[in-house]
């Protein structure tokens, strides 16, 4: 992608995100979210984040080729356990990366 196209992309996301943040503050009293939509919005983070994490862990090459002995899978499972038990970002990143490096060293 050219630099100009990238700037256009950044600007579009920036303006769109600002509009989402400002929406109700600006239009208070004139805007109602239907109950079904607000219920659905509650599941957006879980769904989108899982849809990003799983393929990135399962396919280290970026496309649908399953790699046998992929060290990312055990590393991610361990990191998920740490995230579940501690809710600590730093510890999750540290354990996940540590496990990946350890497994890569063992395999070489």
């Amino acid at each position: 992608m050219s630099d100009l196209a990238l700037w256009g992309l950044f600007l579009a996301v920036g303006v769109g995100t600002f509009a989402l943040r400002l929406s109700f503050v600006e239009l208070y009293g004139n805007l109602r979210v239907p109950p079904l939509v607000s219920r659905a919005l509650a599941y957006v983070p879980a769904s989108v984040l899982a849809a990003l994490v799983l393929p990135a862990v399962v396919y280290p090459e970026g496309h649908g080729d399953f790699v046998l002995g992929n060290p990312q899978i055990p590393a991610a499972v361990l990191a998920a356990l740490v995230a579940w038990k501690t809710r600590n970002t730093v510890l999750t990143l540290a354990v996940g990366m540590g496990a990946l490096w350890g497994l890569k060293m063992l395999m070489h």
């Binding site: 950044f10 995100t17 600002f18 989402l20 943040r21 400002l22 109700f24 600006e26 994490v53 393929p55």
Partner: protein, 244 residues
Amino acid sequence: MPYPSGRAAFGAGVRALLPLTPGVIPFGLVTGVMAVKMGMSPTMAIGMTLLFYSGSAQMVALQLIQGGVLPVAIVATALIINLRFIMYSASLAPYLHALPRRWTWPLSYMLSDQAYALCVLRLSSGELGRYGYHYYAGTAAAMWLAWNLAVVAGVFLGGSIPESWSLGFTIPLSFLALLVPGIRNIPALVAAIVGGGIAVAAVDLPYNLGLVTASIGGVVAGVVTESLRRKASQADYRAEGESQ
């Protein structure tokens, strides 16, 4: 306790945010490092950060740009991730909407998960008094500064980190760190399992349609599960009532 002045409320907001910075700074660093690793200039990486001011959307966009995904799909995906801000905006609106635009526009731009989480309960209980929006402004401005400084630090560190460190893996890991604590009930777990499952199965669909399909599928699964559980618990309640 209501604050005696706007300045005191702002200071209290800043102090309330400080304990959250250890969770924010590593994300910012990784975001900055990833942007320059992809070949972006520092100006571009920092411009992107200022325009997005949304770590998860920015990480996703970086990953999709690297994957050569259609720009329209990247914008749509980033905005879908940021749809949650509509909910935050709706719940903060009663306390902010009467302010002049020189306040509401910057305060809306600086709206973040962290500032929202710190303020929403204290604002709605009324304990902050008339300077409640100064308190919010303190949390929001401190968060903004912490995030942007962390990304800038990442941008200038990025070039010196060797490829063999597999730093790309920090992206799914940081999403995982956001995802797992966010799953607080069964419908959210179902949404995550269905969303993740479809994404793995549909990874070869063109134009990143796999991600969009998976996201919608996960949300639908979450809403359906919630409805089924509600019906089931109502049925239990009725059955108990009849047996008595």
